[in-house]
């Protein structure tokens, strides 16, 4: 009962508040068009109830109502999974949201993996070499000041010219974004040991590899998880941005672009929800991994 009052109830209250505000916004933004429809049809008999139901169920609303998005999300994002046993992979056709979500997710995960590995390796190099620290760090920071929207099409074009298409270029755009928080976090993490802990290793005449694995790496683990949470979320953004210049073939980015071409706002919103849910799930999974690892490292609960 207490858990309900302290955890479930506040969350439900906020969600309810958002849904209500959304409905109000939906009516407010869509009714102007609906009134125009009535006027053109010389319909003067409409009641307020008619206006409500009609504005909330337009084909191309300015702001789709929550239930429209929910229905679209269910039909294209969840329901096809139910057909899997019957129809096999044909159930996940390019007409479904789940298909595009999978395309984006695979690029996200690949880009995130490469980005995290690159970030860790760069951080190792930076803490072990003053020259690397001085020369690489400015470039790492400069890389993130370039808008990804500007650089993404160039990466796609350049890689396409050397024959790389599809998953890899998108993953590399994810990498471009996601290595950054990992470098910054891990440099900080590898430098986290106190002077006294480092002195201790020195009194044992430990090699720098021993100091790294027995001291620096375990000290950096909390930083690793924090930066991985940021990295996985922007990996997803990177993958979506990478899908925009590919001519809207596949992926959530393509789905968003197609939706905006054809005014399919319901489709856009359900794709946005899918992206948000994917990001939240990925961050949540890293959180679970973090709790497991820190528990094994004996951190007090």
């Amino acid at each position: 009962m207490n858990a309900f009052r302290h955890h479930v109830l506040p969350v439900l209250t906020i969600v309810l508040g958002i849904v209500i505000a959304w409905y109000v916004g939906s009516v407010a933004l869509n009714s102007a068009w609906q009134l125009g429809v009535y006027e053109r049809a010389d319909n003067t008999e409409w009641t307020i109830t008619d206006l409500w139901t009609d504005t909330l169920n337009q084909n191309r609303p300015v702001l789709p109502s929550p239930h429209q998005v929910a229905v679209e999300f269910w039909n294209t994002g969840i329901a096809p999974l139910g057909d899997l046993p019957e129809r096999g992979m044909r159930a996940i056709s390019p007409r479904t949201l789940i298909y595009h979500a999978w395309v984006t997710l695979s690029a996200t995960l690949l880009g995130f993996a490469i980005g995290t590995a690159t970030g860790i390796l760069l951080a190792v190099a930076i803490i072990h070499s003053k020259a690397m620290d001085k020369s690489v760090m400015p470039w790492v920071i400069a890389s993130q000041t370039v808008p990804i929207l500007a650089i993404a099409p160039m990466i796609i074009v350049v890689l396409a010219s050397i024959g790389l298409k599809g998953l890899i270029p998108k993953a590399l755009i994810s990498t471009y974004l996601s290595f950054f928080p990992v470098v910054v976090g891990m440099v900080k993490g590898f430098r986290a040991p106190e002077a006294i802990q480092l002195d201790l290793m020195r009194t044992y005449n430990a090699s720098s590899a021993q100091t790294f694995w027995k001291l620096r790496w375990p000290s950096a683990v909390p930083y690793l998880f924090t930066s991985m949470k940021v990295a996985v979320a922007i990996s997803l953004v990177g993958a979506i941005v990478g899908e925009l210049p590919t001519g809207a073939i596949a992926g959530l980015g393509a789905r968003l672009l197609a939706g905006s071409y054809y005014g399919q706002t319901v489709q856009i919103w359900s794709a946005l929800f899918m992206a948000a849910i994917l990001a939240a799930t990925l961050v949540g999974l890293i959180g679970v991994a973090e709790r497991r690892v820190t528990k094994r490292m004996g951190v007090s609960a």
Binding site: I196, D199, M201, Y204, N205, K214, G298, S300
Partner: protein, 281 residues
Amino acid sequence: MAVEGENDDKKQEQAAPSQEKAAPSVVSAKNLSLTFETNDGPVQALSEVNLEIGKGEFVSFIGPSGCGKTTFLRVIADLETATGGEIKVNGTTPREARRNRSYGYVFQAPALYPWRTIAKNVALPLEVMGFSQSEKRERIRRTLELVNLTGFENKYPWQLSGGMQQRVSIARALSFDADLLLMDEPFGALDEIVRDHLNSQLLELWAKTNKTIAFVTHSIPEAVYLSTKIVVMSPRPGRVTDVITSTLPKERPLEVRESPEFLEIAHRVREGLKAGHSYEE
């Protein structure tokens, strides 16, 4: 540096003139000085320090903060490098001594690695030095027993009190059996009661293991109670003002602190400290 070998014999003769006549010198400093370059200009941390520490001695360094007692210990451990004079540890340079893993160092704070259990913390130097599994197990058992912590192997540092944590760090310094133990105010952060207890445990341990101990402290009773030799230091520049050889017997129950002999030595230490403090007036 080239003269190291030649001087060895001579040094061993002059070593430890007081306590154990023939004991070879474990640490031998001659005109040792160290100047730190800081933003406010050079700071002389050690000036003209001459000192011999014989094998099996328990030497305390006492003095106000800034007198260079910790710095001297760090020079022995090759954590700092002297800028003048000469120092030998086990007849070699401090660097050589560190490479030979010839000392165990106990810091002011326990400096345990929080992600390691107590047993794993004690095993840390053993892992670094490549001891075998069975040897590791045996040494963990033995050193934890030595500091009365048997049964805590699988606890994490945060589950132990401050005094117990510091005992773990002593066990860790003992685990690889270096003959020289360097202790930098190991009990400074502990309350008086725990401190008394650990002091008598440390004496027992010293008697059992026959190690040479260099011990930094700022407590007069602690220095007098523990040591065979007390080095009184004073700051600005850090220098040795008095070296007192203890006349107390090796066997020292806590009550020895009320004996006239004890009070006499304590008095002399206090006088030495006062003399060094004159700069404050």
